[in-house]
Symmetry: C2
Subunit: 229 residues, 2 copies
DNA sequence: AAAACCTCGATTGTCGACAAACTGACTGAA
DNA sequence: TTCAGTCAGTTTGTCGACAATCGAGGTTTT
């Protein structure tokens, strides 16, 4: 399961989850004002839990809150994404290096199985790229988990993860990078299987750097993410 | 100013700030249960704002919340600290590399001025190490700011920063590392002044690695942070 | 005596209403 | 015309009370 349990305990948690989903998918546009009363009404709850959810979303950097002026959906401008990918390149590289020594043979084998599924999906339909896109994040997260570093899992899992998904939803339309990406994934798993941490780190860094290059070009062409819905 | 404005706009924000301070200084022990009604009473506010503050603290990883069972102060065990320092080594190394090309000459000069102040503090009193300890964090944060990467500033500034302070409060008692630390700081600034990003990164990583080594030994000797107040 | 169950107290979760702050428009004067 | 001031309307911030849930302790049963 990629996203956490849809229905958790408290209303604030389910509100946070639903809001996150709406923001990531673009249903709530970037920079959009978030009206507490309206959202509470929509979710069928009071404003209390909703306010708590907003505080939580703020911690995930999905919304920006200004005292006495409400909350707005975060705006992913070029600089923000550039910074995000730079940090991600470093952190996921680190995760890869650790994973090379920490993952079990079984887990690495499962990674290959996961990539087999991706390959199958790509063969079946080049159009529905999004599924692969989410799967891609899944691949990355499996490696992060393999690092056995809880802080890394928190950072890349809970927080940046959502921003990444948000970015993906806007850039997943170009499919031309899925095949080379799959190849790079294979190479990374191969390095992990050989327990070559340095190589795995380098390959992962290159992989993410390439992804940013590709997305950067898209942003240049059509201001993706600025004017939506 | 190291800590943000003590009195901010909403009650939830000031509650979050005061709670963070109490947790960092150990006034609230690790693993301690946080009773909403009691804290609200102590801060002279309703439970609403306090609950929002707890949600915010959860985002900063200072408390852990369990649905229907309340919030507890996070426990910094050995593994957690180890993971934290590993991530910090990577991220601050990255910050240093970027800062070497991004900081202005003026900013680098100010870093040296800051170190002069530290040196003065150390000469005057070897006992009151804490001030230097906080100043140390200030030094690190100035470099992070110099990276011009907002995500990096958020990660190392708002969140890990608090955990670091928390750790420091428990380990600042041994002063023997302040002098070599100061020397290492000087070397880092020197590398920055020469615009040698790779060297600056390496020195910073070594510096943080050493800090962890020192703290790790302390944990081995006396279980620091486990049994307090 | 040990284990399961039940009851009660305490704590968390939630709601509705009130107070404070901001937004925007309207009015009037320079 | 333009700018400052004022004034409603809207939205956020806060509180107190009520409902739901959990944990502890005692009681009953095997």
């Amino acid at each position: 399961m990629l996203v956490k349990a849809p229905e958790e305990g408290t209303l604030a948690d389910v509100a946070a989850h639903r809001l996150a989903q709406s923001i990531v998918t673009g249903e709530l546009a970037q920079g959009q004002k978030l009206n507490e009363a309206e959202l509470a009404e929509r979710f069928g709850m009071g404003r209390g839990p909703l306010r708590e959810a907003l505080r939580q979303l703020e911690g995930m950097r999905l919304v920006k809150r200004i005292p006495n002026a409400g909350a707005r959906v975060v705006v992913l401008d070029r600089k923000t994404l550039s910074d995000l990918y730079a940090v991600r390149e470093t952190l996921e590289g680190m995760a890869c290096r650790l994973a090379a020594t920490q993952m079990t043979d079984d887990e690495i084998a499962q990674l290959n199985t996961l990539l087999d599924q991706h390959e199958e999906q790509i063969k079946q339909q080049g159009g529905k790229v999004y599924a692969q896109s989410e799967g891609d994040l899944d691949f990355h997260y499996q490696i992060v988990r393999g690092s056995r570093n809880q802080m890394l899992m928190d950072l890349l899992g809970s927080e940046q993860y959502q921003l990444l998904r948000m970015c993906r939803y806007r850039t997943s339309r170009n499919a031309q990078r899925t095949r080379p990406a799959l190849l790079q994934h294979r190479q990374i798993v191969e390095a992990l299987a050989q327990r070559d941490g340095e190589l795995a780190e380098m390959l992962m860094r290159r992989h993410i750097h390439g992804a940013w290059h590709s997305i950067s070009e898209m942003i240049d062409k059509e201001e993706v993410g600025q004017a939506s819905a």
